[in-house]
């Protein structure tokens, strides 16, 4: 389909080569009337400031400036900056220019007679300034509280010093620094942009019409052009395809959400039914129903967020509550020894769920069909600091498979399937592991991009978990470190970037496919 389309279009689209563009006529075609006017003005003026060109062409200085920039991008015009410094006497400078500089006045007095500092202080205005500069310049010397003239001092007595020249308006390299430092002048810089033709610019001059013959070109085609048919009489400006324009960014679904959705679609395609559960949970569903002993270290304040308000919930499924309690205490009818203890008050404590396994437990208690398969990808919470590899809030992916007489080979079969289909692993290997709620437990490593990574844990739910929830079948359970997988797939090395909301980053993100 697309093949025939492009074949049809081909004769209509002629590609222009660089050679054609170098052709002078072509260059001229691409010039706007403003650029042409500037070029013609430069032909006459040679090198000129934008202001002069504006006068010559009748364009505004701003327009000349822009047209000059366009022409210089095409290599027709070059520009340089001329910096003009303008010095002006300050109030103090003006006073000195009338009254003379203090150090010279001091010099005149001591040239007649060596005098003490006290005497001089009385007879010279601004004595401290005068003395400091006269000393710095080596005009006077001090000994025993007396000031006397030096040889250098006598030499300059009748001469005009550079500073004095400056005060008369004669500024040069030798006096500007000192005048500025003494705050006797202020200096302002004025920049002027000087334009001139390049070799290429001079070459195209013969192809330009004269100033008056340049017809205004039309930029925007308007509804009125179309309605009145006037477009037939207009000359429309041709555009340079490479003229820089701002990029128009599309908005996107957040890359992490795209990845979550992509994974959801894969799970659904594998026959899994999506389940959901609340963020806050009772310890019952988050731990007790999973046969985690009530004094298990992973239930402590360093591993689970407890709620201050509200702090206690209830368990509506009274039968599950009773059976789970008995299973903890003595194994109930599950064939287990149990943990020997269980406290009903503790099971009602509210927590932020620390894993998605509680969603699986609720699903099992809801009398699901057998066989069936469920999954969820959702947020869980743990007391952790936020850094490149830890977060207090992250996503877990979890699934259960219910069936009669499922075995460890079936578990490994599913893990292999997920490893390849969902994680895109090149190879898979298994290790024994430990989770309080599964036995046997399996850890899975996947080879992704040539590197072995731990990607998930799994196992067969213990009878101490399934029986009290009313399930007689076997339940295979697995969870993937979803954030880690997403980081690999999205090429992210900092976990916080999964929630990145920098619009510039999002605008430039590649689409996940």
């Amino acid at each position: 389909m697309s093949g025939t389309l492009s074949a049809d279009l081909k004769p209509l689209l002629t590609t222009k080569t660089n050679k054609d563009i170098d052709n002078m006529e072509d260059v001229v075609k691409k010039l706007s009337p403003h650029e042409k006017k500037v070029l013609l003005a430069l032909k006459k003026l040679q090198e000129a400031a934008t202001g002069e060109i504006a006068k010559e062409t009748g364009l505004s200085e701003d327009t000349v400036h822009k047209a000059g920039q366009w022409a210089s991008m095409k290599g027709l015009v070059e520009h340089r900056e001329e910096v003009e410094t303008k010095a002006e006497l300050t109030e103090e400078g003006k006073r000195y220019s009338e009254e003379g500089v203090p150090e010279k006045k001091l010099l005149e007095i001591v040239s007649k007679k060596t005098m003490s500092i006290q005497e001089l202080n009385r007879s010279v205005d601004n004595f401290s300034i005068a003395l400091a500069w006269a000393k710095k310049k080596g005009w006077v010397q001090m000994a025993g509280g007396k000031v006397s003239i030096t040889k250098t001092g006598r030499e300059v007595l009748s001469k005009s010093t550079p500073v004095e020249e400056g005060l008369r308006g004669n500024f040069h390299e030798n006096n500007l620094d000192e005048l500025r430092a003494r705050k006797l002048v202020t200096v302002r810089e004025k920049k002027t942009k000087m334009l001139s033709l390049t070799e290429k610019g001079r070459q195209i001059l013969p192809h330009l019409k004269d100033m008056k013959a340049i017809k205004e070109e039309v930029g925007q085609l308007t509804p009125s052009h179309i309605k009145t048919g006037k477009w037939k009489d207009e000359v429309f400006r041709e555009y340079d395809v490479n003229t820089p324009v701002p990029t128009l960014y599309t908005s996107t679904i957040h890359p992490y959400v795209q990845f979550i959705n992509e994974t959801r679609r894969k799970m659904i395609a594998l026959g899994f039914h999506e389940m959901k559960g609340p963020f806050t949970e009772t310890e019952f569903w988050n731990m007790d129903a999973l046969f985690m002993p009530q004094d298990h270290p992973a239930r402590g304040i360093h591993d689970v967020f407890r709620l201050k308000k509200p702090s206690k919930g209830e368990v509506k499924d009274k039968m599950a509550l009773e059976r789970v309690g008995k299973t903890h205490k003595n194994g109930w009818i599950t064939g287990s020894t149990g943990w020997g203890h269980w406290n009903q008050e503790q099971t009602l404590n509210l927590v932020l769920r620390s894993h998605t396994t509680c969603v699986s437990a609720r699903t099992l208690a809801s009398r699901p069909e057998i066989p069936s398969k469920f999954f969820t990808i959702d947020r869980v919470f743990r007391p952790d600091v936020l850094d490149a590899t830890h977060s207090f809030e992250f996503h877990q992916m979890e699934g259960i498979i219910l069936g009669e007489n499922l075995n460890i080979r079936n578990l490994l079969g599913y893990l292999e399937l997920f490893g390849r289909e969902v994680a895109g692993a090149e190879d898979i290997r298994f290790r024994p592991g430990y989770f309080p709620f599964t036995e046997p437990s399996v850890e899975m490593d996947a080879k992704i991009g040539g590197k072995w990574v731990e990607i998930g844990g799994s196992g067969i739910f213990r009878p101490e978990l399934t029986k009290p929830l009313g399930i007689d079948a076997s339940v295979l359970a697995w969870g993937l470190g979803f954030g880690r997988l997403a980081m690999i797939k999205l090429g992210i090395s900092d976990m916080r970037d999964l929630f990145n909301h920098d619009v510039e980053w999002l605008r430039k993100r590649r689409l996940v496919v």
Partner: protein, 549 residues
Amino acid sequence: MPVIEISAPDLKGMIGRKVADSELESVLPLNKLEIEEWDGDRIKIEVTPDRPDLMCTEGIARQVSAWLGIRRGLPSHVVSKPTISMAAGPVKARPCIVAGIARGLNLNDDTVRSIMQLQELIDLTIGRDRVKTAIGVHDVSKVKPPFCYKEVDPKTVSFVPLGFKKEMTMEEILRKHPKGIQYRHIFGNARKLPIILDRNGDVISFPPIINGELTKVTEGTKDIFLDITGYEETPISYALNILLTSMEMRGGRIEAVRINKKTYPNLRARSMKLDTGYVKRMLGYNLKDSEIKSLLERMNYGVNMKNRTVLVPPYRYDILHTVDIIEDIAIAYGYNDFEPELPRLPAVGRPHPFEEFCNRIREMMIGTGFQEVVNYTLTNPEKQFRLMNVPEGETVEIANPMSKEYSQVRVWAIPSLMANLVSNKHRRYPQRLFEVADCVLPDPKQDVRTRNIRKLAGVVSHANANFSEMAAIVNSIDENLSLMASKQPSDHPSFMKGRCGQIMKGKKTIGFFGEISPAILSKLALKMPVTAFELELDEVYKHKQPFYC
């Protein structure tokens, strides 16, 4: 997960045949032992917390040797008759005690280190940090039997605690000694505290806090006395068994200790029935009895196939149920030697309808020109209430937050989007952001006393952002969803007066929109006008129409 550090040559010397490094490297992970680091002679190994018996060189050597088929089956233990007895009086603060002796040890550095590490890790894992077990290891030659375990007034007894030079009373130890400060919480407000004394009244141990300096174990120690205290007998007995059987592997002779009328340790293997049909169903292979037996023996079980019983080694604390034995059979079989097999399970895959609905909403927002963002649901009152100029409402509050920054769950989404605008202040405008945002509201009617809700929220910011533009966006959402909602003027402290509207479906408010108050913008140092809307997706979902209508 607990991590132990052991000597590789020491371990290899105990396995029973020559084992190459590469073999060890592949065998350990197949036995729940993950190698963290291997640097010259030192190996760091992560042990799963269910196997305290593997938290030492001796236990690992025993496991690996059996798994490789070198020393298979139930290990035998010899316990000689007690020569030392201990009178244990009622001790309310710590009612249970067991004890045992290992004689004739030849302790070198590796042995001492391995045993001390084991003792610490048992106290940390099954002991729940010395609460359920607290182990004391002593040189028994320094004290005179019989011993006694009793409760005393902590002001009346003093001794030199381990690692100290000066005598302190028990009361002083709790106030000043680092271990006293660390573990005194275990006693609660008990007035009388436990102590172990010898015949002369010399202090052996002040469990679970500290031993006396008197019985300190050194390289010259030959005979070790172990005391283990706690609240119930099961964990302390297993701890004793694990330690004594490990010392036995180092050439120690186990000698029982009589406590009142009982003797410890009890190293008789526990007998459990084995349903071989269950084993075969769980493994997915029709294994012969002899194969099952051989696999069990490679995990140190004793097996009697005639009456289908399994003898569980006395150091295995983790065997609660037949499934635990079945996992061991699978480990002996080798996890990577199973042939994976996908069962044929007819099951239909279905997305959660609300998730799919939310995806349609996302597509609609992208079409409206909004960029999606994702934010944390944890927040704080400053961010979600005070900065937004609204009074603090009912929220879900965390009792043990890691920082003030994330101390409660958000009830609305606009504050998160405002924070996003703040962090994008130097990026190009216009900015249009939206989030399909999980929020949690208190709800006493639910079993978890809260309710998850989803909001759709959006913000628009640019030099000419205004009420009319946002009202037009709300119109477009309304039409897209065939919601037929109405708008009503509203006062909301986050919005400018007279520039806020409520979105109503019938008499119910399902959302709001308007121009954010400049007072808020200046607090956030935002220089561009901002308009915002928020809509309750759960409410919208109730009125959803098929998307093709």
